[in-house]
Amino acid sequence: MSETVAGPADAAAQQGGEALLEVRDLIKHFPQGGGPLGGRRRGAVRAVDGVSFTLRRGETLGVVGESGCGKSTLAKLLMSLERPTSGRILYRGEDVTRLGGRALKAVRRNIQMVFQDPYTSLNPRMTVGDIVGEPFEIHPQVAPRGDRRRRVRELLDVVGLNPEYVNRYPHQFSGGQRQRIGIARGLALNPEIIICDEPVSALDVSIQAQVVNLLRRLQREFGLSYLFIAHDLSVVRHISDRIAVMYLGKFVETGSEREIYEHPTHPYTQALLSAVPVPDPGLRDRRRRIILSGDVPSPTAPPAGCRFRGRCWKAAETCARSEPVLGIPARLAELPGPGRHPSACHFAEERQRAAD
């Protein structure tokens, strides 16, 4: 099952700071049927199916993929909100998946999350002060009781909200302001890692930029590491140092921001990038679009061999027979340059670019 050879992490392992989070062969299958009400077992949804990566101090790893690719399940696994079927999540060398009780709580303090929907992720009956200060109830050692009020006001200030607003309720704020509240809550315990699951996709264009800038500023100020999950490829490029492209539970291509966006070698990445509308009408007829046929197959029964082959224009017999592993493809290994990065495709190569 686990066929990750040269993990995506290893390519970037040479550079960057200390590894905070190491994920190895992470798998999460959700069984179908056979629940408490009976019913036949019908296999499993293979939401995350063998994912490995390393997250270093101060860096941002962007995870892009379309709906159903497993990126949100990945976030939940990292937050210990779900137990993996197998695989390891090492936080500072310690396997989080084996921890429980107090030890798990201590780890969780350092890994926080910012959610997509600022409307449903804040309790409407709690004041902003209570929402942002709630983590202190769970981890009282972080801020002594008498100091909490001050800390909350400080946090609001850090995310660009008026500290006078502590007694207001979420409905009194706009979407962008609510997302700031969510970010303030995520920062409360001085975490090292923040998992951002589509943090700006629910926001208006003019507000998105404010929140993206805020996240970048906080990263610099506090030396945070981000795992930034999103479907908007432009936002991901903007904020990420390294990118992993996910398809049906697996990483299919990983590399630096430049390697992925300017020198993609996996057909799925190429199609994904070519499909993004670019806000420049001058490029309308000059861009070579790859329009994929069909939809993402069901993660319950992914195709044998390469999971992308049903939609791929390069698919050949080999692709049905053997599943390509994520590693630097042999044919690209000899070439120096940005095309040389992990890609899970038998026919990985750079696309001839039309316009430039």
Binding site: E66, S67, S174, G175, G176, Q177, D204, V205, S206, I207, Q208, A209, Q210, V212, N213, R216, H231, L233, S234, V235, R237, H238, I239, E257, R258, Y261, A271, L272, L273, S274, A275, V276, P277, V278, P279, D280, P281, G282, L283, R284, R289, I291, L292, G294, D295, V296
Partner: protein, 325 residues
């Protein structure tokens, strides 16, 4: 002109006061032309479209002024039945969320066929055959086998195709598409926009595309109307708008989006928040967020649309400065 909206006004009466969701909006679209109405949430772009279609819920909404001229006839003065006939036959709408726009307990074949039974008086069998034909037209694989399936059995992209098929069924002259691809993944979005553009060409329809997505607009629109706080703040052909925006809000939007083709530094965000429509600022509604705002922007009536060039207008006192920036 195929469809022309003139000085349209829509109000909502709420507990807290009157909201002018659409405050004097004019736009027009010709056969074979694509007009994009660009705006953020609360700009009034969808409410205006619903008023044009005649599907606004009144109350709470009230159309308080303006005209919607379709082939020269003012739709707002038509009776209920007459309006309905125009809406079914000549104008159609595509919504963002196909899952909630389609009836979950009826097969897609039934829902497609219904149009032909009601509007064309076809028999069930004929209508079913038409439904299969339409599903083929929007490239739903194995249409014949899937015609009896229910909406939930289709993927999001396929459901959106079915909605497009429904909109096309009676070969309307105008289609209004309200965020048709916002809920879709990018590879599927590309498929659906391609399909929509192709069908528009083939049927020579007028298309009004309501969206917040500057990328999608750049790909398909002929001309653009930018809305802010219930008003149109800029009108322009697509190339001019992207090259030389004439309103600071448009410029702000273009500057604030991250680009796919290069990694930038700090994004140039528009400061502040869109206005609360219960308390729209005096003067230019954008002035609290505008880098160019002066005294004349802060007081008096909102700026009218100034003619910038032929087919171009901007509701900014300082459009000259904005364009030349």
């Amino acid at each position: 002109m195929l469809l022309e909206v003139r000085d349209l006004r829509v109000e909502f009466h709420t507990r807290d006061g009157v909201v002018r969701a659409v405050d004097g909006v004019s736009y027009a679209v010709d056969a074979g032309e694509t007009l994009a109405v660009l705006g953020e949430s609360g700009s009034g772009k969808s409410v205006a479209a619903q008023a044009v279609m005649g599907i606004l819920e009144c109350p709470p909404a009230r159309v308080t002024g303006g005209r919607v001229l379709f082939q020269g006839r003012d739709l707002l003065t038509l009776g209920r039945e007459e309006r309905r006939r125009v809406r079914g036959e000549r104008m159609a709408m595509i919504f963002q969320d196909a899952l909630s726009a389609l009836n979950p307990v009826l097969s897609v074949g039934y829902q497609l066929g219904e149009l032909f039974r009601v509007h064309r008086g076809m028999s069930r069998r004929e209508a079913r055959a038409k439904a299969v034909e339409l599903m083929d037209r929007v490239r739903i694989p194995a249409a014949k086998e899937r015609v009896n399936d229910y909406p939930h059995q289709f993927s999001g992209g396929m459901r959106q195709r079915i909605m497009i098929a429904m909109a096309l069924a009676l070969e309307p002259d105008v289609i209004i598409a309200d965020e048709p691809t916002t809920a879709l993944d990018v590879t599927v979005q590309a498929q659906v926009m391609d399909l929509l553009a192709e069908l528009q060409r083939d049927f020579h329809m007028g298309l009004i595309l309501i969206t917040h997505d500057l990328g999608v607009v750049a790909d398909v629109a002929d001309k653009i109307a930018v809305m802010y706080a219930g008003r149109i703040v800029e009108n322009a052909p697509v190339h001019e708008l992207y090259k030389r925006p004439a309103h600071p809000y448009t410029r702000g939007l273009l500057d604030s989006i991250p680009r796919l083709d290069h990694k930038g530094g700090e994004l140039r965000a528009i400061r502040g928040l869109p206005p609360n429509l219960l308390r729209v600022p005096a003067g230019c509604p954008f002035h609290p967020r505008c880098p160019l705002a002066r005294e004349d922007c802060r007081t008096g009536a909102h700026p009218p649309l100034f003619e910038v060039a032929s087919r171009r207008a901007s509701a900014c006192h300082h459009w000259r400065e904005t364009v030349s920036e």
